[in-house]
């Protein structure tokens, strides 16, 4: 793993926040970093040129979706994800597990592997792996830890994730324990599979190695989370991800999980939080020592006409902090940019009135301009956070944003 390194440059004195960089074969990710999601190998509505302007350092692609379309073989044949999507910077893939399980959770009959009359939920789990039906056409597929490694290897992202069982919420402690233990056994199988791969690769010198992150599970149960943190943290993963914290639990529960888990993780390895990224979350997770985190929030909100702003802006019309609903009639003839202090392409060039018009006209450009702004907004916030920590001003910055 010579290509993969994590360096901590600075530790905050008052919190567990830290500044560092993850070095990959495709370049560096300055941490703490927000990792936007490009589910199907595209950060929705934006070109790579726009992502580069925004300053996106890395993005997150979903293995489940790429497995179904176009298939990992196609991506591999085209030279791997980076070549396929013409993105020369780092990329991250998940294991496919979250989607496999969230598909089942969203099924009207809920639960796992339960048969109700003629109906069957979309996935069935056993010790070996998970059988699931495609959300696209109902065709039957099977993921195992080894299969997830194989797919992610063919996709070729710089950072990949161990195949875990993402526990649904709320789950009983008994179920969460069984799922966690299975996740731990699967973690070992992923490591075995990847160490075989690395062994082969170093012989063949054929392909760039990938950094494998383990995933901590355990639902909202303190004992389980601690057990999972210790177990997973002791395995020879290159980094650690914390899973199962964006599945419906409260923000308080998420913070509890971080407080239990992070002190037990090895300090020298990077920590990724899966699926979290609202403004207040960002401060909470950075404060607790999370290095990277991915979330669909800025692009999904953008496509809904929700543009990000500092919460103390007087023009804010929604109850949700830090967003402004640009589709509201009040902006129909508002000549101001979304955010007058913002230097993004959208704010430098367009009025709220034009964005309002584009959303009301359902013009595709609306989604591009709003997503651009939202990502820019978050990237600038993360820059500020990265600067605030060595300056000893992280808590001051947090207070300014969360007041």
């Amino acid at each position: 793993m010579a290509d993969f390194q994590f360096k901590i440059h600075f530790l905050d004195k008052k919190t567990k926040a830290r500044v560092g960089e993850i070095k990959t074969a495709h370049g560096v990710i300055k941490t703490p970093a927000f990792i936007p999601v490009g589910t199907k190998a595209s950060v929705k509505s934006l070109t790579n040129a726009q992502l580069a302007e925004i300053g996106v350092q890395c993005f997150f692609v979903n293995t489940y979706h790429l497995y179904l379309q176009p298939g990992e073989e196609v991506v591999n044949k085209l030279g791997g994800l980076q070549q396929f999507i013409d993105w020369e910077k780092p990329l991250m893939t998940d294991s496919g597990g979250f989607q496999v399980f969230s598909q089942a959770r969203n099924n009207k009959f809920g639960g796992y592997g339960v048969r109700v009359g003629e109906e069957e939920t979309l996935c069935r789990i056993d010790e070996e792996g998970v059988t699931f039906k495609s959300f696209k056409d109902g065709s039957v597929h099977r993921f195992t830890p080894e299969k997830s490694m194989e797919i992610q290897q063919k996709l070729g992202a710089d950072i990949i994730l161990a195949f875990d069982e993402c526990t649904y919420y709320p789950a009983t402690e008994e179920y969460a324990k069984r799922a966690m233990e299975r996740t731990h056994r699967w973690a070992l199988r992923c490591l075995t599979r990847m160490s075989n791969v690395k062994c082969q690769m170093s012989n063949l010198k054929k392909q760039r190695p990938q950094a494998l992150y383990g995933v901590v599970q355990g639902s909202v149960f303190k004992g389980l989370r601690k057990e999972s943190a210790k177990f997973t943290g002791n395995l020879p993963f290159e980094g650690l991800a914390i899973g199962g914290v964006s599945v419906g639990e409260s923000k308080k529960e998420m913070i509890n999980v971080l407080d239990w888990v992070i002190p037990l993780l090895p300090k020298e390895k990077p920590r990724h939080l899966l699926g979290v990224g609202e403004i207040d979350d960002i401060f909470a997770l950075v404060e607790r020592g999370v290095d990277t985190f991915d979330c669909v929030m800025p692009t999904r909100l953008g496509r809904m006409g929700q543009v990000l702003k500092m919460s103390n802006d007087k023009c804010q019309m929604t109850n949700v902090k830090w967003t402004m609903d640009i589709t509201k009639a009040i902006y129909k003839d508002d000549r101001r940019p979304v955010d007058k202090g913002c230097q993004c392409y959208t704010c430098r060039n367009f009025s709220r009135a034009y964005l309002n018009h584009l959303f009301r006209s359902q013009e595709l450009l609306a989604y591009t301009l709003a997503s651009y702004h939202n990502l820019w907004f978050l990237e600038r916030l993360l820059e500020e956070i990265r600067e605030s920590i060595p300056a000893g001003k992280f808590l001051e910055l947090k207070q300014r944003w969360l007041k």
Copy 2:
């Protein structure tokens, strides 16, 4: 109209093709020029920065759509179209007439002003103007020549069009004559209204004048077309548009119309053809002396996954000349760019396989990349055409493209 000038730089010796430039207050349009359509004040899926990269010189906005949303008052309050959409180059609006009539034509009961039981067609025409129902909410509106001028004045494009009756196809000669005569009377009312406006403006020195183009109608009838060309060509319009040639008639009929009309139009004024722009059409209309033309084709085809290519490419899979259906399974793992000779952002960076994947995944980026390529392709073709004429090679170029 000091701001508006048309200069002819070169006349082809073998055809009626001509090279020139239209000077407007917002810059120059080199002719012959393709004018992309941005119906609702956005060329679909593309930012202005991308349009500028592509080399778009001017685009076409539909008055009918902007009147309904956000309303001309809003655009005017924001400083006019150019400011509203942050486009510093020339813009053109139509009169609203085409949409008013095409809405009625597309109504299941067809015809104009006909009441069938409780149902009513979407527009009713009288000498004064047209009453129509919004395609959005059924609300009732009325356009007159004066109202169209007023709206277009408030929108503020550099080139605007007289309010005409766009004859449906097929129409009887009797109906086409009545409609043409009404269009002629309306042309005079538009000129009257605009000369009053210009008079006021030159006193107030308040607003930039706009160039008004008259519209030649007469359906597919030689006598009517010639009469309309003579009548409209003799009025003090700044330019002439040819209407009613993209309403369902054949390409042969369109060419007939050009052959009848253009020789009767004043040579010194620019000529615009409304709603035409397929590759073979482009050569036909340039050859006959058309200077500018607008069409939704490249962007609409792009959004459908139809990308433009030279017709002699061996990979072309469709029967339609000059397009390739990038959504077809054959491109699933095709690592080549859409067009290997093309220098556009899409072709420089992405494979057919990635475009295929984006379309199959219904990713918004698909529409952006395909529209970008298609507009780039047409802009380069028009550049080639503009160069070929002074070089005496226009017919040679045509032959190469149409073989």
